[in-house]
């Protein structure tokens, strides 16, 4: 069964309908459109951060290598590795290896949860140091906290949403409730979350390293 037929349902009208110009299932196209709009959202947030940083004469650069940058590096390793396990899940699902696909989905889910946990610990550490949305314990621009918590918070929300989505797909994939197309679509979302971090880590952590 082709991807298009699987998406439309074997008993649907896929056979008599004109082929999609993109030759992908509608769900996958919808996810690409969502990724595009979400990329614009993150771009806007990162531009706002850049605007605040350029416009503030007393911008703080509080991140020391240990613990903040090192923690960010480990988080990057965890998230990039989760991208690899997601790829393994997609490859296994495409090959019809349902059990292996499910295992890789759970592995991705676990790595996503680990990333979220590390991120929350980083937040706790900063809050204990006195950082708030509009409070800077170093006495510099108060916009730092607003930018940091907004950007990383929006990304964390996406990670948590992805972990829930992965768990739902992993629960329904073995029973056939969800198919390989659903695994692929979730994969596109997860890799996007990974991609956003590729900008957040250098721009928010490394640019503010001591």
């Amino acid at each position: 069964m082709s991807d298009m037929e699987m998406s439309a349902g074997a008993g649907g009208h896929a056979g008599v309908m004109e082929e999609s110009p993109f030759a992908i299932p509608s769900g996958k196209l919808a996810m690409w459109c969502f990724v595009l709009s979400d990329a614009v959202t993150f771009s806007a947030v990162l531009f706002a951060y850049g605007y605040l940083r350029v416009g503030s004469a007393d911008w703080s650069t509080p991140f020391q290598f240990v613990p903040s940058v090192l923690n960010g590096l480990v988080m990057t390793f965890v998230l990039l590795t989760s991208g690899l396990t997601m790829l393994a899940a997609v490859e296994a699902a495409k090959a019809g290896r349902t059990a292996a696909g499910t295992r890789w989905l759970w592995a991705t889910c676990a790595l996503g949860a680990l990333f979220a946990g590390m991120h929350l610990m980083e937040w706790r550490h900063m809050i204990e140091e006195g950082w708030r949305m509009f409070q800077n314990p170093l006495g510099g621009s108060v916009h730092f906290g607003a930018a940091f918590f907004s950007i990383t918070g929006l990304h964390l929300l996406h990670v948590l949403g992805g972990v829930v989505a992965l768990a739902v797909i992993a629960l329904g994939f073995p029973s056939g409730k969800y198919n390989r197309i659903d695994v692929e679509i979730t994969g596109i979302y997860w890799h996007f979350v990974d991609l956003v971090w590729m900008f957040v880590f250098p721009l928010v952590y490394l640019m503010n390293a001591k």
């Binding site: 082709s2 299932p25 771009s43 605007y51 416009g55 590096l73 390793f77 692929e184």
Partner: protein
């Protein structure tokens, strides 16, 4: 190309190599950061490396390379246009940095 063909990938060995490449780029970002370059130079380097990482991730991890060109040409120009339009905030940001109150 059919939908089935478009979904084919090169296999896990290749993806592991890409993953190692991405980790190397992250390592280069950290090394560049601690060379204590001027902020503007550091920003340029980090953005170049981040865009390289993102392009690799979109192309291989998100399988855009294996989709029809029509999908690529539908998605990328729209994104580039929006980012280009957002890029117009910078003169105002620099104006804020140097803004002074009018003399009484």
């Amino acid at each position: 190309m059919t939908a089935n063909e478009s979904a084919q990938g090169p296999g896990m060995k290749f993806f592991v190599a890409v993953w190692i490449g991405l980790m190397c780029i992250v390592g280069i970002e950290v090394i560049v950061t601690y060379r204590h370059l001027p902020a503007r130079d550091l920003l340029v380097w980090l953005l170049l490396l981040a865009f390289l990482e993102a392009a690799i991730a979109v192309w291989y991890f998100m399988h855009l390379k294996y989709e029809r060109a029509a999908l690529v040409w539908s998605l990328l120009p729209a994104f580039i246009f929006v980012v280009f339009m957002m890029d117009h905030v910078w003169p105002d940001a620099f104006r804020v940095a140097t803004m002074r109150l009018l003399a009484q």
